[in-house]
Symmetry: C2
Subunit: 451 residues, 2 copies
């Protein structure tokens, strides 16, 4: 149903410069779509088409769609809308989202937009922009209501009632002293249940907070670990500067997970939507990895060169190369994926290296014994006992080697402070390929009596 | 520091049956560790050792550590603690966590535990257990406070104040009619800001809710998409039966992401901690995938057999097999990872298949041209122009093919309702290996004039 409507909108947009007629029809159709579907369409169409579609929306939908778009795409849309009511769109964003958008814009546009903001919004945006991109300060909401620790519960409720529309969150309220230093937090439910005369200083809890310059991912993980709904953020002196909410923390972790997934697929995460990213930018996100991996794979050529004369004696040995290296890569990745996950959730720590090796040694041996027997049986039938024995023994050895390598790599990555995901798929495969070939031809040389 | 303490505890536990002395020393050391570190230790030690450590903790810490453990491990601990104060541990769990634990236990133990619960806890647990494991009803908290829609804001606040310690969440309050049917929700901040005389029916919002039998992952995604802090859950007749909180939704999505990651590393997610899972169980989570992939890799043996006589003529061709198949696999995985992510966040939909192919065709061509030129240059220098041309052309073709295959596979998986992650690494590599070899030897045959 909505797929049909999307198609119609796209067709109308494509059929030429929007006169009155087409725009009305686009507007009519667009009304039947959700904000989600509209953002998707805006990302999937060309810049001019998307601007046309955007302008056909009513003011409120326009705002909601704009807020739903990724910062990279908000920036692109703004550049096409130039001269339109850009300011109101930007003014309506939350300060942290606005900072992400401004990051995407050229310096000149950024300055212009900043000066066009209202004074308090400009101040809050500047505060957020003051932190590095990796700091949690960039992701907090600076519009935060602090409760004076000298308030009674009754005064606090009265104060909240008068300012109820302002702050982004009032589930968990930060309590501050006269210097604006964070001294505690109080859940609104406890505030409700407290005696009206209780002083906040007495009834507030010890806060789980973060400093604005801390790494965003570490803070987001802490947020999730403690199952918070909101977390106060302070400056270096402990003064309250903002609040982090659960959707901010989820978004940070989601992006981190996507980045890891991209790396374990040996590419870099692209920051905008796939269909609106230029082909060259996608190439850029992949080429470095691809070349590095291809260059490391030259190692396999060199290993095979050592054994070229033996290959010449028994060409049949070449037939099993992809099967054997592939199995090694798969076994290695299985171990790496499991250990990476165990590291992430804290089941395994660096000190467990010996335990991990001992486990993977046993797991690899069992897997290798099973695959090796299977390989021996099948290869013996077709190519004779000798080749069968070579294949069987090689599968056994490769599985043991690959499981251990795969189990150790993520710990090694963690040790040197790298993302374990980087080490899982791409490098393990290359490493296991080269090592596997060494094992294969050593066994073949011995069993077949080559020289 | 805490690593040292952990080591001491482990040493004490290992050195024999806990007399009075060792247990005291364990308790002393354990006091210096966090709940996190204690759970880790309990999972990392043997069952009897962990039981000993657990019993050395004070009652409150014991409860917190028990709640922090994964259900699978809670079950294991209970089986060792048999006869101890198991009931109070189970009684203290939230009903949804308790249901997950009961799932792990043998039917007889489960029944026994259920009957030992207090009446209202038993009833809530039974309610949660009534839903299938994949339904959101299993993950909700059934201890939920509904506000009568005929309440005024003032009455609602009064009612909340009197029952403030009971429900799990009061950030967002469900509003119900006399049949307990969900008619709205109201944020506690709006309740605070409302006029005391306003009727809830007038001031409550349209709820974003879910039915208890809906798929847990779909509901969790909806939860995140709308940036909720809590979501009312209803039965088939729209009656309020529970609330889902943001930590429940995060946990569901986190598990789903881990399962996908495991599958893209060609293994199944293990449900308990890596170090406490038996070696055989880890083997079981990997063996099926490994055998299936090895059997599919037999395809590469068959492809190579076709070209065996050509390999015999130019043995040097064998040297590049792992390099070429590896590059194909990497290119395919890059495309698959990007498209899988785009599908997950809604940037790409099934209808975009032609656009995805067109993009990956161009991306693959550019990547292939770059890698192919590099390959041609290097291989020409070492092995002569002919081999250089074969390698260069093959790299170009393989990159184009693999990028398209990698881009299409996730869409195909989605189309047939499978997890796109399953199709990314393992199958794409195997498929690209076989296809890549066909391309390689076809090009070699043509360029080198083999027959």
């Amino acid at each position: 149903m909505s797929t049909q409507i999307m198609k119609q909108i796209e067709r109308t947009l494509r059929n030429g410069p929007g006169g009155q007629g087409p725009l009305v029809s686009v507007a009519d159709h667009a009304r039947q779509l959700s904000v989600d579907e509209l953002s998707y369409l805006i990302q999937a169409t060309s810049p001019t088409e998307s601007a046309e579609l955007f302008q056909a929306l009513d003011a409120e939908t326009r705002l909601r769609v704009f807020q739903d778009l990724a910062p990279a795409y908000q920036g692109k849309l703004l550049s096409v809308l130039q001269g339109q009511d850009i300011n109101s769109l930007v003014e309506a964003l939350a300060p942290d989202d606005r900072a992400s958008l401004l990051d995407e814009l050229p310096a000149a546009v950024r300055e212009e937009l900043l000066t066009s903001l209202s004074a308090d919004q400009r101040q809050m945006t500047a505060l957020v922009l003051g932190y590095p991109r990796t700091a949690i300060g960039r992701y907090m909401s600076p519009a935060v209501l602090g409760l004076d620790e000298n308030f009674t519960a009754g005064q606090a409720l009265e104060y909240l009632r008068s300012r109820i529309r302002e702050p982004e969150t009032v589930y968990l309220l930060p309590v501050i002293d006269q210097d604006r230093k964070l001294t505690g937090v109080i859940g609104i439910r406890y505030l409700l249940g407290a005696e009206p005369g209780d002083r906040l200083a007495q009834i507030s809890d010890v806060p789980i907070s973060a400093r604005a310059d801390e790494d965003r991912r570490e803070v987001a993980r802490r947020f999730m670990k403690h199952k918070l709904v909101a977390m106060p953020i302070t400056d270096a002196d402990g003064r309250l500067v903002g609040m982090l909410t659960n959707d901010d923390a989820s978004a940070i972790l989601d992006e981190a997970a996507a980045r890891s997934a991209a790396r374990s697929g040996s590419s870099e995460l692209i920051s905008r939507s796939y269909l609106s990213t230029s082909v060259l930018r996608i190439v850029r996100s992949r080429i470095v990895w691809l070349v590095v991996l291809a260059l490391s794979a030259v190692l396999t050529v060199q290993v095979l060169e050592i054994f070229e004369d033996r290959l010449d004696q028994v060409v049949a040995l070449a037939l099993f190369i992809p099967l054997l290296t592939g199995t090694g890569g798969n076994t290695g990745n299985q171990a790496a994926t499991t250990v990476t996950r165990a590291l992430a959730v804290g089941d395994v720590r660096l000190r467990d290296l010996p335990r991990v090796i001992w486990r993977e040694l046993r797991v690899g041996t069992i897997l290798g014994a099973a695959l090796g027997s299977l390989g021996f049986a099948v290869a013996s039938l077709v190519y004779g006992m000798d080749i069968g024995a070579v294949i069987g023994l090689t599968l056994l050895s490769i599985c043991v080697m690959a499981a251990c390598v795969g189990g150790v790599m993520p710990l090694l990555a963690k040790k040197i402070g790298a993302d374990p995901a980087v080490f899982s798929n791409p490098f393990i495969s290359t490493f296991c390929d080269a090592t596997g070939l060494l094992i294969y031809f050593s066994i073949a040389t011995a069993v077949l009596g080559l020289n």
